[in-house]
Symmetry: D3
Subunit: 240 residues, 6 copies
């Protein structure tokens, strides 16, 4: 089974570079079931990182092209590599292989493991987007809060101690003040920072890494012959 | 007061052409308050018409550029010229002048005039998008149904009798079966077909033309010194 | 276009008097589009001010009479001059000209300009009424909070500094604690105090004046030939 | 224990007259617990019957006066004698004795006895009012439908066979098409027609008579020393 | 009229013993209408007290047997003696006499007396259960909060002063911070502690005792010939 | 990785017998990832099949014991083998290994693959239970309908042609009339009948088999070190 992790930005050309892409691929591969091969690709033109809906939109056309190509290249499924799931519905309209978004997937996973979950994300600017995702996903009643570490995406990797400290602070507040009993990282860079297990043990609640949850969900779909509904995400009429 | 009607597609290069753009501008101008000047512009590259979320996404980056330019050119406000309000949130992040979307505006107008409204739109493929718009807008309890005439956008102008007949059929069904007491055209081409008044008189319920509602809402905002909230739609951090 | 601002109380006989009525008419006139003539009338018998549902009910029968008379007198539309929109549905049942309520109108305006709005009103006693208005309007998910300055209506005009100070305090708390990104004055006397622009500049969020929003909404309706749905607000059977 | 059934209209002067008032009092008395004394009073001026929100408003000021007087006269509680519960909140603001509305009470009773209930009422014109009552009461998810017999209130008593036939038709449709498992009469005159038991036996679901449910709820409140919350329905500030 | 209070645990064999059972029966009898006879029975095997869903489940099969036997023994109705209403739906499937649960009944009572209610219960472990009850009952919008005294059930009777102090603290916080205007005890042992009247007087809001509310609701049902809907709670197919 | 499929009934002693248990285990094993070992166990005493909430409750105490024993026996996770997820919350309170329910899991899977799903289940008597599950799961807005084949569980295996015919009829109606774009079998016996793939191809929408979805979800949880939240499902205080 071949799975593509599709980055909707120019990660290879950004500060993070191909080394970080390689690292993320390896993290995913380490969680993959026997027989699963994970690959990673980014887009030629688009945002460096996504901290606004504007930046989401910039990368979507190229990301959909990337996913269409992945289907042609024989991939069995695609993980959209941004918490905001940018262009997920559009991509699903163009391909038959399952495309999963870490945002919506992780919210449903959290809803299946507890009563109320909080999303810990980067900056205030993305909070409304995450709340709207929960609403579209039908998970809004389970969303206790969206909290932010208030660190720009491109600085996250460079300040790991600050990130961990701020993430723990917000996580504790989410549990105590917002009654969260499950936590979700609302940013791929936070998720790939590798803090989930340590935080979960310290806090006593599940901490969900959206890319890992997406990988396992996608593997399960492929193994059971499922994909997104083409009645829900139909091929655009002019492309039929 | 100068207002731009921004078409998120390549209308001037499509079958509809500059003549239709001119006609739409004139329709809007005819409803404008004394002192309002309406202009219309489309984008250089993008979809011919929008019948899927994929096509929405194709035009958004150029449409946002168009709106940013409009602000520089001294426009006082912008109407996004597609019922799906493609990229509305992204555009609002980049400018301070009010940008209004005919989709969300017409839904709130309908909610203010009755108890339940129905949207009459083009094809099945856009129904989930319209339902999600209602949800994001907080109008979902007021949405009685979304019904389709099942005619592609680019054929609407060429088959005016069929359009009117199908629109009336669906409108009657919406009123009788779905209990709608207010109707909204869920497509700009349908709205600019000029059927609203005749249908309203025949059916005995308000029939809202989203571009006209958007024009009047926008004029009112500008006259009272209001715009969208920059706290809700903040400038992307990297652009500050 | 002739518009009536209908006061559902005995303002001319109250402490506020005809001078305040004249002032309010002039404020509205100053925001009106060219060609709009605004008039103001109150009722012969009813409450001095409205701080309870009981007082709402006291003035409704006379207010509906006033609105029926306005239609006969050739007015093109009516603004109901109280934030609680007392008797709005009843008045709409009796006339064909559009009748708009500042409460519901301003809530929908706020929902169109941001994600969550707060209403700043007078006293605790009207909070449940405003929450129920949001619910009936289908705006409840967008309502962040209702906050009170805790000053009786009839003292508002006499203590402008205290009013401004208290309004700013509650506005700041709404933004910070309740995450409001848009504000609405939940009382006509507060709205006519003229603080909206100054507060908006100080706070960085839109501050909506319900009577102005109602005026602009009503002008737009009249200009586009719309009114409330008579299917939603039918003439009482015994009066047909 | 003394209970008043307060009619918010001029029943004694209507076609129905004092005889019907006496009959209703006797029906209530027959369901009362030992020791309960039921009385009935109407208002001097107001609507003959209520088939619109306009008519609701006409009778409210006098009905509130009637209820205030009832408290002075030593009544222990009041049933508001119209399904729309006109002025219930206003009346509760002015008195300390419990005032109960048959509309909201019967909806909660139905919610406690099944999963989905339907209201069978008189005419289309009151359907939105009943839906808004369910919303305010927090029962909207339990409301399967509101169906109408389409007979004016003042003709109900004169056409008992037609009423029964139409009520049974709508009840069967509510059960089969709307999945109702509990029924409520949405009109006092229908409720006092005495069809509940026969219909319940024929249909196999509970059929709730709102005035009887209100009587039993009110007796229970009085017996356990409860009333409506004065924090929720505070005395109007100017009357303190 | 004969009513059974069915304890879904082994109270007679617990620390509380038959003396407490007798006391509870007498409290209920003292609130009963003339002609009502209240009896109390517990189950032979099951939990000592209920502080988890696990303990709820342990007692349900025997409790349903107890209720089936009650119907055979000529009881006219049953009150399920635990706030969580354990097995209420299952019991209703097996009998025709009305079975009422203090949890759901008290929530609807609170919804009828105010705008928002809080439940004051024992421990954190039961909070999600109570929130789910409100959701199933269709009362979730009226539920302001669930607050806990954090005292195990079996210690409640032994520490009456601590219980009263903690209950008052949480009640005050519910009113002030959560805007509750009505309170409900979320535990039978708390309800039978007899604090309701004193707390209500001190706090100025209704304090509902669920077993008393259930008794009065049940008496009213029996007196008016109503029971739960057998369409909603059908006899299991294999038992027909 | 060792996974137990825990049957909350006496399947080995029923008409279905150990042969059917063996067959189900093999079906699950055939979908398992390399390295996963699936076992199946039923309970010594309980219902033959579950067609009511009463029968759910009968088997829960023994099923929880079975799950507690599974944890002691070294299983890494448990699938609760009934669509109603009977006792899921109670079981989660007692163990640390993940316990997943096919009902809630399949609903979230459907919500992740489309916009609206329908559940095709056995009989009318379980419909309210399934609707309440969707509500508790926070999926109620995504649930288009619950439809029934109207065949008792124990006859399903004996009438495979009738089952397939009825399932297809209801599936077609769900897609056309209820707008479902994804389907879920609401009964384990239906799910294990092996119709999912054939139906999905005939209907053009995903058809989810809850036990397979549960298996893949559970494998993913175990592989990523996740379990249900012990803050959401705490150990009962008396067992600590």
């Amino acid at each position: 089974m071949k799975i593509l992790y599709a980055v909707p930005g120019i990660m290879s050309k950004s500060r993070m570079g191909t080394k970080e892409m390689e690292r993320r691929k390896n993290v995913l591969q380490s969680f993959a079931a026997p027989g699963t091969i994970v690959d990673i690709r980014d887009i030629p033109d688009g945002p460096e990182s996504i901290e606004s809906t504007y930046e989401e939109y910039l990368g979507i056309p190229n990301t959909i092209d990337l996913i269409v190509q992945a289907e042609k290249d024989g991939f069995d499924g695609v993980i959209l590599g941004c918490y905001a799931d940018p262009g997920l519905d559009g991509a699903r309209e163009l391909v038959n292989i399952p495309v999963v978004g870490p945002g919506v997937t992780s919210m449903h996973y959290a809803a299946m493991l507890g009563h109320h979950f909080s999303v810990i994300t980067i900056m205030d600017t993305v909070v409304p987007t995450i709340e709207e995702m929960a609403l579209k996903a039908g998970c809004e009643r389970k969303l206790a809060s969206v909290r932010v570490v208030d660190i720009p995406v491109l600085e996250l990797n460079e300040r790991p101690e600050l990130l961990k400290e701020r993430a723990m602070e917000e996580a504790r507040a989410a549990i105590k003040e917002d009654r969260a009993d499950c936590l979700v990282f609302g940013c791929m860079t936070m998720a790939f920072s590798g803090m989930a297990k340590e935080m979960s043990e310290a806090l006593g609640v599940p901490v969900i890494s959206p890319p890992i949850a997406s990988l396992k969900f996608l593997e399960g779909l492929i193994a059971s012959g499922l994909s997104h509904s083409k009645k829900a995400f139909p091929t655009p009429p002019k492309l039929r």
